[in-house]
Subunit: 257 residues, 2 copies
Amino acid sequence: MMNKPVSAAICLIGDELLSGRTRDINVQQIAGFLGPYGIPVEEVRIVPDVEARIVEAVNQLRERYTYVFTTGGIGPTHDDITADAIAAAFGIGIGKHPEVMAMLQERYDEMGTEFTEARQRMARIPEGASLVENPVSGAPGFQTGNVFTLAGVPSIVQGMLQDIGHRLEKGVPVRSITVRSGGLREGDVAEKLASLSQELEGVSLGSYPWFRSVTDHGVALIARSTDREMLQTAAEQLVALVTEAGRESEVIEGEAS
Amino acid sequence: MMNKPVSAAICLIGDELLSGRTRDINVQQIAGFLGPYGIPVEEVRIVPDVEARIVEAVNQLRERYTYVFTTGGIGPTHDDITADAIAAAFGIGIGKHPEVMAMLQERYDEMGTEFTEARQRMARIPEGASLVENPVSGAPGFQTGNVFTLAGVPSIVQGMLQDIGHRLEKGVPVRSITVRSGGLREGDVAEKLASLSQELEGVSLGSYPWFRSVTDHGVALIARSTDREMLQTAAEQLVALVTEAGRESEVIEGEAS
């Protein structure tokens, strides 16, 4: 039997995402980062700034997936409760991390800014967690078991991810080829696509329609596989299928999406 | 005791969202639609095109929230399995809905397009579900108990939402006021914000930093409340707090976010 393949889940924390104030970009960013490592994101949850809800989601996800990435809620304000929630989820203590305290003290000294009690909240790290460097704004994220706790601000998430890759167990990267066809409708190719999907072993076929207006619509057919050769075969078949339906197509090779 | 307040959850279905190929906009769209009805979105999940995973998520969410909105997976292709998953979740049958069959038949006749077996998949509706009109592309969504099953394409979701408002139990709309301040750092106001958050009953205060570069960063402080008067008071206090920190601010009144 094969080992359980590596997998990931993302838990986005923040009322602003649920209310629609903020449109998330971190799922895309983290999934795009993990793709080349061969680690697929298999579930995402968005939960509010409520400790019990964060604890519940993190505990369910860390049990089920190889890695969990949380974003948001590690700043200095009263609604930043993620570090405490992670400690609660793992049933471990939390305190001001000496190394982080020293690093932030130095940072604020340089800026001539007071290292207030609120700012010291950013040094609260669950016991035994390892730090995740923040090259953008200083205050670190952290890794507790298989859970990585990152900031919410996308540019900071991007920075923190640079300190995570070397910790990850790699899987086999999934490659994809997209066959886009303007004007095509899913129903034009659905039967043949279903047969093709049965025939092509080790390739997953997806069909993604777009519909912006009556003159701007079409379908993107995507083949995904870890096997380059099978993927090429699939792409040729998809192009043939679109041609048979009397439409033109454009082939786009992607790394992993 | 008060009745349990109305609430909603969203379950986005689709591998393309998890892989990062597609950046979701439906959470924002649905949350924005529900805001004026006083129905807050309290949880979001993104799950893959796998029936067991859809069933599990929908069953957990429909138990916990007043309404559940699913998006994606109701087209004609082999990876469109949401209708079957919803029937499985409710333990009910599914079949081709005569009204939808007739309507789609007419639509395809008009277009001079064959109403293939694959296209007929779009007429598969769980037994007893009521239809949700699709003014954009014809094939309807449906309501099964407290679960609304919508398309994934944003313009179609937008159209379908127009047939949903009249079915919803209304809550009390939450209004918001945003006080934006470029250059402000969260740590400059965190202590006072925490006290204010304690003092202001019935108002929830959030702090949302942005950080695009060393010259373009700041904080948006947001007060949310169902009480307009309290909200005005909160906004004045937030402005005062920013002024005290030696920064300028801009006040933006929002409907609900």
